[in-house]
């Protein structure tokens, strides 16, 4: 069977290439994986995205927080990377995403008065945090698996694809209600993060041939495929 099938042009990026592209994307634009309120992120830069603190009555400035997402790795159908039982097996036209998410909040400084600032690993992430000796981050990391599909969209560089997260599963988080809560939170976060990553079609084909899409994106044969015409 021909590659172009009923169309004239075919372009596909294998999951290995897609992972290379995503690694390059997040290396160049790490702010897509790093979010925090002013206590953690002084200003939005290429490294981090500043968000509002969680407002709560009686807490001046709100509760500072941050979310750090490790560079994700994807596995396109058919499945070749292991998945938690809840997501196994990987369905047709789906890809899995594996990452680690670290969530931090700034513990109320009044309760920590008199303690010296801890040398927390979070301090090593980026140089965008304000020099605040009062920052008392409390963090936890969780391994995340997600299932997503791809859809066509537009971008400043023309036609593009993006990934929409359909389901998420955390590893070894107890109790169950807490896991459900965090899953709900991370589903929304990952869905928003990945939906904002738009990969233009020329990037997916390394500039080989122009492609006016008609069919796709389709996830099969360990790759993402697009069909169309010149």
């Amino acid at each position: 069977m021909s590659l172009t099938e009923a169309q004239s042009v075919f372009a596909a990026i294998h999951e290995d290439g897609l992972n290379d592209l995503l690694q390059r994307f997040f290396a160049a634009r790490p702010r897509y994986l790093s979010y925090g309120s002013p206590g953690f992120v002084a200003a939005t830069t290429v490294n981090s995205t500043q968000m509002s603190a969680i407002q709560f009555p009686g807490i001046p400035g709100g509760i500072d927080w941050s979310v750090q997402i490790a560079r994700p790795r994807v596995d396109a159908h058919p499945q070749s990377a292991p998945l938690p039982a809840e997501l196994d097996p990987l369905g047709l036209q789906r890809l899995s995403i594996h990452t680690v998410v670290e969530i931090c909040i700034n513990c109320n400084e009044r309760q920590n008065r008199g303690r010296e600032p801890e040398n927390h690993p979070h301090d090593d992430h980026h140089g965008d945090k304000p020099p605040s000796g009062n920052l008392r981050p409390v963090c936890f990391k969780v391994e995340v698996f997600a299932i997503a599909h791809a859809e066509r969209t537009s971008s400043p560089d023309g036609d593009a694809i993006r990934f929409i997260v359909d389901a998420i599963e955390l590893v070894d988080l107890q109790p169950t209600d807490f896991e459900t809560l965090i899953e709900c939170l991370l589903l929304q976060i990952l869905r928003a993060v990945l939906a904002s990553v738009r990969l233009p079609l020329p990037a997916l084909s390394a500039g080989a041939f122009s492609l006016t899409p008609a069919v796709g994106p389709e996830i099969e044969n360990d790759q993402i495929e697009m069909y169309g015409s010149l």
Binding site: V9, A11, G17, D20, R31, D157, S205, A208, L230
Partner: protein, 264 residues
Amino acid sequence: MDITAAIDEPAADQLLDTAIGLISLPPASGAGTLGPFFASYNASASLSSGDVDLIAPSTIRIQDFRLDWNLGFSFGFDLSSFLPDFCIPQVCIDIPCVGRVCTPGFCVNWPTVSVPVSFSDFVKVTADFGISITQTGGVWRVEAVVQGTPNIQFGLVTAGLLAAISLAITPILLAVPFIGPLLAIAVNAIIAAIGIAGVTGLLGPILTPFVSGLRIPIYDQPVTFEALAATSAIDPAVFVTIDDVKAIITSTNEDELVLTIDIS
């Protein structure tokens, strides 16, 4: 391979038609033979589309692509080579009461003339192209490169050029004194001397270089490929490295030109 891109034969036809139309052929000038004559010329040419036939594993045949050309040349010849020189002798007569009167005697030595000719036409060429993949100067290039020396079929072009030569010769010869009754003889003799072989002998070496070594671009991207353009200071450009490029023609239920690309 990280990336696979393919086009079918109609798309390849469309792609190569566009690429061929963008090729700028440098003009040529020089000297050659036109039958028994020596001609200096300048020529320009342009290419336009043909029909693409993809032949596995690595041949792109382009049938009947057009080479439109403009040719200006001039050649010189000694009319004495075609017409006999002749002399009119002095004639004297005795006239009563006047005496002897003589007409002057003279000889006609035919001059050497130079004939400029301008002619435009096109030829159709069918050629097989191979696939060349290079990485030079930080750029990956895939090109269709013509194989060997294409055979140009001149066909009716030769008759057209002979007619153009004939038209160019006539007014020049008309300016030669005493040629009147010999004009047709001279023109026919010159055209016969050139002949079809003379025309193709001139056109072949002029036009063939326009298509010999012809390279049609298929893929042209820098090794450091900009996957996403910068949109702001906080969203800089994203680059990937193109590590390898391969190109092949596959034949399944249809023929396709396939590029495979490795990135990192």
